[in-house]
């Protein structure tokens, strides 16, 4: 449905995005993740034909974004990041304006408007001016605007920013619901949200794609091996030298001291699962460490995100 091929956008000497490629299948919900300034918004602006790429292109349902821009724009519903609406218009007149500009035929108009209004829960504020609407309602109106022509593709730039937790859940459920029949790309930097809403995640950092796959796949691929957290009272040097000499310990890291005086270590044994835990317990017993806590630390999406987007991981390419 969406085929992004080698998309690059350069502002003077800076690469906003650099050779970005990914595919989205029909009916998929893709989460576009990355730290601020990673290039999420730029990519979305290019896909919606607002900005042209410096090089590369994308096909939306077989239509080239550069050559068949009008057709592409017809297929897409777009929610920009800052919810830019006209402050002096009422919600309903704004929706009617968008519907008219999109050329929705008269006999379908009421049905389409009703759908967009019901889906986003705007009924209560229809006749209010946009300038009087709360951030949450503005966000909904903007989403309604993107839905009104029943597009097969939705591109949503941070659809849940500025919403309270309840609204967030509502919008998330709405996207899930819509996503059953539509192809959705949404950007966010709230990881649990992405995990809950999206079928697949594309992680972008400094303008490049650094990860692409389902959350489980990403965790398996990039996450550390099973890792344990140990809290204990023992001499730090002795513990470290014990880890150093124990061949069953692959990696360890001193995490610091807890408030109540325990040393915290993060240890990755060679053996995963319970056997790894047993080894660590044995080590503690043999060396006489006072072990207060030994817990299995599962790699979360957040760890993966941190690993993939570490600032030192990659320098942004600049033109000389």
């Amino acid at each position: 449905m969406i085929e992004v091929k080698g998309l690059t956008k350069r502002y003077r000497s800076l690469y906003a995005i650099d050779d970005v490629s990914f595919n989205v299948d029909k009916g998929e919900i893709i989460g576009f993740l990355g730290p601020n300034g990673a290039g999420k918004t730029t990519t979305m602006k290019i896909l919606t034909c607002y900005l042209p790429p410096t090089s590369g292109t994308a096909l939306i349902d077989g239509h080239d974004i550069m050559k068949e821009s009008l057709e592409v724009r017809r297929l897409i519903g777009y929610l920009p990041e800052s919810t830019p609406l006209y402050p002096e218009m009422s919600a309903i007149s704004y929706l009617k304006f968008i519907a008219a500009a999109r050329g929705i035929p008269k006999d379908e108009l009421k049905k389409r408007l009703d759908f967009a209004i019901e889906a986003t829960g705007l009924r209560k504020v229809l006749y209010k001016e946009v300038s009087e609407l709360s951030k949450g309602y503005r966000q909904r109106l903007c989403l309604a605007q993107a839905l009104v022509h029943d597009p097969p593709i939705l591109i949503l730039d941070e659809p849940t920013t500025g919403l309270d937790p309840l609204q967030r859940i509502e919008i998330r459920e709405l996207i899930r619901e819509i996503g059953k029949t539509k192809t959705v790309i949404l950007s966010t930097h709230i990881l649990p949200e992405a995990e809950a809403t999206c079928d697949r995640l594309v992680i972008i950092n400094l303008g490049r794609i650094v990860g692409d796959g389902t959350p489980d796949h990403l965790i398996r691929k990039y996450g550390k091996k099973a890792c344990f957290r140990m809290l204990m009272k023992a001499d730090r040097q002795m513990v470290e030298s014990a880890f150093e000499h124990e061949s069953g310990v692959k990696e360890y890291r001193f995490e610091g001291k807890s408030e109540d005086g325990y040393h915290i270590f993060e240890v990755t044994p060679e053996l995963s699962g319970r056997e790894g835990g047993e080894l660590l317990f044995r080590l503690a017993r043999e060396n006489g460490w006072t072990l207060a806590e030994l817990s299995y630390k599962k790699t979360t999406l957040e760890d993966v995100f941190r690993i993939l987007t570490e600032p030192e991981a990659e320098e942004r390419k600049e033109v000389a």
């Binding site: 607002y50 900005l51 009008l70 017809r74 800052s82 609406l85 002096e88 304006f97 968008i98």
Partner: protein, 237 residues
């Protein structure tokens, strides 16, 4: 054309629902009324000459003021991003906004009807200069609006758009006058006179509607609308 219609309707509603629109009309009427009745009393002749004489200078402010918001505001709000990602061509956006401003101009000119009515009541007989004068005024106003629209498309701020629009409008209006054109080589000053708005407006004010003047106005308007469209498209360069 759906995009054109939608943009046009929205902008029209905007002009006639905002108090800013009415303030601009009211200010225009106060100015023009003052000069018209002042002219009547001073010359003791019932005609529209003084009206059409000051009109260009009032329009110099009116045109850019009416047009300044059109695109600059959309840039500032960011709403341009939604507008230009709708399946509408850039020229439809420009044309829709221009047409709305032109209709607003027409409405404003219509509001001056008591002035020619007074002149006729007081004994003015020749309606020719009235019609051609209004005709010319409409074209002149549209020219200033198209220039203002262009100014609005190249900057992000309304006030700046107004100043830039006023500057360009003023230059094109007076560039045919000796005090400007005498600084330029002869061939250029001849061209500047023929291309100046003032030259063609004065020609129309005499009561003759010459096709050449009409063609000139249409070309100038078209030129600036084209530039405005280019300036929207320029984000893609």
């Amino acid at each position: 054309m759906k995009g054109f219609k939608a943009v046009f309707k929205r902008e029209i509603a905007n002009y006639f629902s905002s108090w800013m629109g009415y303030i601009v009309v009211a200010a225009f009427l106060v100015f023009m009324g003052f000069f018209f009745f002042n002219g009547l009393l001073e010359t003791n002749i019932a005609d529209m000459r003084s009206f059409f004489k000051v009109l260009p200078f009032v329009f110099l402010f009116f045109g850019p003021a009416v047009a300044m918001r059109l695109i600059a505001e959309e840039k500032k709000l960011g709403s341009l991003e939604i507008l230009l990602t709708l399946p509408i061509r850039d020229w439809e956006v420009v044309l829709g906004k221009f047409a709305a401003a032109a209709v607003f101009l027409l409405f404003t000119l219509f509001c001056t009807w008591p002035m020619p009515a007074t002149a006729i009541y007081l004994g003015a007989t020749d309606p020719g200069p009235f019609w051609s004068g209004y005709f010319g005024a409409f074209f002149l106003g549209c020219s200033f609006i198209s220039i203002g629209l262009f100014a609005s498309s190249i900057v992000k701020d309304q006030v700046l758009a107004f100043i830039v629009g006023l500057g360009i409008s003023f230059f094109i209006f007076v560039m045919g006058e000796p005090f400007v054109s005498s600084y330029f080589p002869e061939w250029l000053s001849w061209f500047m006179m023929k291309a100046s708005l003032g030259y063609h407006f004065t020609a129309m004010g005499r009561g003759v509607v010459d096709t050449r003047d009409v063609v000139y106005f249409l070309c100038l308007i078209g030129f600036f609308l084209y530039l405005s469209t280019m300036s929207l498209t320029a984000r893609k360069w």
